[in-house]
Amino acid sequence: MTDPDKLKLARQFIEAIPHSRDLGMELTEMDDGVAVITMPYDEKLIGDPETGVISGGAVSALMDTCCGAAVMSHPKNLAGTATLDLRIDYMRAATPGQQITTRATCYHVTRSVAFVRATAYDEDAQNPVATATGAFTVEGSA
C-alpha cells in the first residue's frame, strides 16, 4: 500500500490541476509508476443524451490524468511530464450513474520516454469500459 506522505503529495498534485479538480477526480493510489484515479458520474459529462452514457472525451481526460500521475510517480522521472500520444479503445458504454475508476501502469521507462497502459472500469470490475496506451515525456534525468 502507498505510504501516507506520498499519498498526501499525490492528492495535492491532482488538486492543483484545475480540470481534474473540476471533474471531481480523486487519486487513491500513486506509487512507483502506478496510479489509480476515480471520477464520479456527473450529468455534465453526458455524451449521449438519450441513454445518459458519459462522453468518451470525459474518459479520455481521466485516462490522460491517470497516465500522467503514473509517470510522475515513477522513480526515474524527477519532474513533470507531458503527453506525447495517447490512444483510447472504447470497449463498451459506461453504465450511467456509476463512478469510473482508472488504473495506469508505466510498463517501460527510458531516459526520455515513459510507455504507459491504463484500463478504466465502472462498478463492474470484470468488464473494462476502455483501455489506453500512451507515450509520455520523462523529465529531469541527467
Partner: protein, 166 residues
C-alpha cells in the same frame, strides 16, 4: 425550372440543424465548444477557460481536454455529414424550440491523439476530415491549432461505428 430557395431560408435550416445537434450533448456544453459553419464545412471552437487547464505552472490546456475537443469535433462533423442530405432536402426538420428527436450520434471505437505542442491558454480550433465513411464504419482525421493554422498543437485519428437509420 424551380427557383432556388432564398438564402436566409437555407441558412436558417442549416443553423437550426447544427444547433440541435450540438446543444443536445451536455459534455460539449460543459467544455464550451461551439461550431463555426461555412457551407457544409465545420470548425470546432474551444474558448479558453481556467477549468480547462491541466498544467498550472506553464500554464497549458489539459491533454484530456484536447483529446475530448478533437473527439467531439470528429463526432459532430461525422454526424453532420451523415445528416447533410436530409437537412438539405428538409426531410429532417429541426424544431428551433428543441422539440426534435435527435438522430443517434456515431460511437467512438478508438481515438488516438498526437500531442505536437503544449496547448496554450488561448482559444483552440479543430477541423475534421472524413477519410472513409461506409454504412457501418468511418475513419476520421482531426487537426487542432491555436494561433497559426500551420502550427498544429495536436492531431488525431479515430474510428467510429455509424448509427443505423431508424
Amino acid at each position: 425550372m424551380k427557383r432556388p430557395e432564398p438564402v436566409q431560408v437555407v441558412k436558417q435550416r442549416r443553423d437550426a440543424a447544427l444547433r440541435a445537434l450540438v446543444d443536445g450533448v451536455p459534455y460539449i456544453q460543459y467544455l464550451g465548444v461551439t461550431f463555426d459553419r461555412r457551407g457544409d464545412e465545420l470548425t470546432g471552437v474551444l474558448p479558453f477557460d481556467e477549468k480547462l487547464i491541466g498544467n498550472p505552472l506553464l500554464p497549458a490546456l489539459h491533454g484530456g481536454v484536447t483529446a475530448a475537443f478533437m473527439e467531439m469535433t470528429a463526432v459532430i462533423t461525422l454526424s453532420w455529414s451523415y445528416l447533410w442530405e436530409d437537412i438539405e432536402s428538409g426531410s429532417l426538420d429541426f424544431d428551433p424550440g428543441g422539440g426534435t428527436r435527435m438522430p443517434r450520434l456515431p460511437k467512438t471505437v478508438d481515438f488516438s491523439v498526437d500531442y505536437l505542442r503544449s496547448g496554450l491558454p488561448r482559444d483552440a480550433y479543430a477541423r475534421a476530415r472524413i477519410n472513409r465513411s461506409g454504412r457501418r464504419y468511418a475513419s476520421v482525421h482531426v487537426e487542432g491549432w491555436q494561433d497559426n493554422r500551420d502550427r498544429l498543437f495536436a492531431q488525431a485519428t479515430g474510428h467510429f461505428v455509424m448509427p443505423q437509420r431508424r
